[in-house]
Symmetry: C2
Subunit: 379 residues, 2 copies
């Protein structure tokens, strides 16, 4: 591999190829070698994949910064003369879909960290007209969220989504990462019948706060995640989330406290506290949020402690549905990532296999067991 | 300094003096050089001080492990045939007092990390008959908690303590750290008129739970910290704390979220959740704890965010009272530790100087300011 050439094509902020390529890992997928960047480095996104054999680069999806207050968060993030599009942020699994086989070979679905997920790839081919899209736009990457109650990664319920669906959140040049404008992306998605996140309108930065606050109220009441604000050209984006999302994430984290609690807790509290300071107009409103926050932390953790005491399996429960081959490939893929799986159901419905399984949360299970047996904590 | 000799006297678990002594730091105090261990290493406690000039070693106070459940926490920690003493754990500042001047020179008060605190030293000489005690027991260390609303380190209120007082929690051999038995320590404290933590009785490990649970209920209702359980010989000790203490510590941490929030939050939630799982018999009791937990996290943080928005100083407020010289020395001591102080009051009451000051929480002030100005968070 000519590292210097790829270094230049990636536009890395270092001139030493080794500085960047020491963070790449080799993986085999779909019969080819993928070189995958395992962490954001030198201006190149985590999950960036180089497929040397077909000379294809698929850039990682950029990290989206977050504002903690709407005002002056929005006007200070965007240029004063920009138009800002307000779109829904979905609680799903970020998946990039690209045709990396140099014209031949099926498009693949890449996770945020650059793994090819065989299940998601199969589902994408079922649900989206990929051949048609990539024959016209071979050098783009479809950036999507896989949402719904039946995915191997997330389980958030969306009204009208019974199993799982894709929503296209961005269409980008796969190598440079340059996005289509919001308007062009939305019309191209319509052209191909791709599902999209809801669009709540356009606004000037200086007057965005009111619209965003109303949108957030509406999404919060429906238990939905939040919004992404984008400049009309698609280049700048920033996110802002709902109280119900903060609490839902804490409830998830504290249902598996020694796997996720420590990493999740502080950042979600910070989001909630700044939102409260800006938007909770009364002491009663603040008190209600505090109570919901406390419930989201304590009750799932106590429930899990009691489950461990009762000898029950603790972990993330998922249901997946699809053709038997891709379910097999998924389970193998998850095991390769050192996950311990326990199966709770496995059945056929028409031509599909439906599997219910638990990703066992071994750290939580073992630490809770240790403390319940009287183990001490040194602090 | 003959490091090998001190290595042996300290009973370190390494045979290489350099392994231990690379963690020592030289400080000057009371006209002598103190060699201070800055972290627990090789079986030697953090805050251990060697005063080479007078050939004195003062061992650090040991870290006290914590149980998260009473049953089987207590019976699995102690031997079945041991008697367990239940004493109150106080929310104060752990200070060791020792005569390190080889007979001459005043006894000094050492903080947990081995600093000599001039203010605490002066207060200890006022409040405790140190000359009398150390002339009879020169090779011991008095392990104390400095409690009360007027100390430069903690501010927890105790009924009947108007300013600050010492409670002797242990008397140990200063070099080996070997403690007096609980009974001998309590009678020796009585002999010298030293204040002591409350003693709630003795019990067998197998039947301790009931007494400890009742004691914890009583302490919790009074807003006090918890208990330390000690084997009768004083060798083994373990702690357990109240719900009100968990929440009070969270309220403190989240009043200064970017100084203490991240470090404090997870461990206090863990304590509260295991206590809830064992002791909260009803859903209503658990729900009430969850609400109190949420209030302790969210409301102080929102209050601090609003204070920063209003341009008010945020930090730990303390009042100290004492002779003018030791107040001067204290303020210099705090500044040497890179604390930024702001003064809110400074007056004379009789012969004493009374100073109210704030240890400015610069990280919280600056991070909150940044986010309130619209700064983004990359996660």
């Amino acid at each position: 591999m000519d590292r210097d050439e790829y270094l230049e094509r990636l536009g890395a902020t270092t001139e030493e190829a080794a500085d960047l390529f020491e963070h790449f890992e080799e993986r085999s997928a779909a019969g080819r070698t993928h070189h995958v960047l395992t962490a954001t480095r030198h201006g190149v996104e985590r999950g960036t994949v180089i497929v040397e054999e077909s000379d294809v680069v698929v850039r990682g999806y950029p990290s989206v910064p977050r504002i903690l207050v709407l005002d002056p968060g929005i006007p200070s993030f965007f240029e004063a003369n920009e138009t800002v599009a307000i779109e829904e942020k979905l609680d799903g699994f970020n998946v990039r879909i690209a045709a990396v086989g140099a014209g031949s070979g099926k498009p693949l679905a890449f996770t945020r960290s650059g793994y090819v997920c065989p299940f998601t790839t199969a589902r994408a081919h079922e649900r989206l007209p990929l051949e048609e899209f990539f024959s016209s736009h071979p050098e783009t990457v479809l950036c999507t969220e896989l949402i719904g109650p039946e995915t191997p990664y997330t389980t958030h319920d969306y009204e009208g989504v019974d199993t799982h669906e894709f929503r296209v959140i961005d269409i980008r040049d796969r190598e440079s990462g340059a996005p289509l404008s919001v308007a062009d992306r939305r019309s191209r998605c319509e052209e191909y019948g791709f599902g999209q996140p809801r669009h709540f309108g356009r606004t000037e930065p200086s007057t965005a706060r009111e619209t965003v606050e109303e949108t957030i109220d509406e999404l919060d009441a429906a238990g939905r995640e939040g919004v992404v604000l984008k400049s009309a050209d698609g280049q700048s984006m920033v996110k802002y989330t709902t109280e119900s999302q903060h609490h839902e994430e804490l409830a998830y984290a504290f249902s598996l406290p020694f796997d996720h609690g420590r990493d999740f807790v502080f950042s979600r509290i910070v989001r909630d506290a700044f939102q409260a300071a800006e938007l909770d107009g009364t002491d009663a409103r603040l008190r209600a949020r505090a109570h919901a926050l406390g419930e989201s932390i304590l009750e799932p953790m106590v429930s899990t402690i009691r489950d461990v005491a009762d000898g029950e399996t603790v972990g993330e429960r998922h249901t997946v549905r699809g053709d038997p081959d891709s379910i097999d490939a998924l389970l193998e893929h998850l095991r390769e990532q050192s996950l311990t799986l326990e199966f709770e159901a496995d059945r056929r419905e028409d031509d599909e296999r439906v599997v219910e399984f638990v990703k066992v949360a071994e750290s939580s299970r073992d630490r809770i067991r240790y403390y319940l047996d009287g183990g001490t904590r040194d602090e």
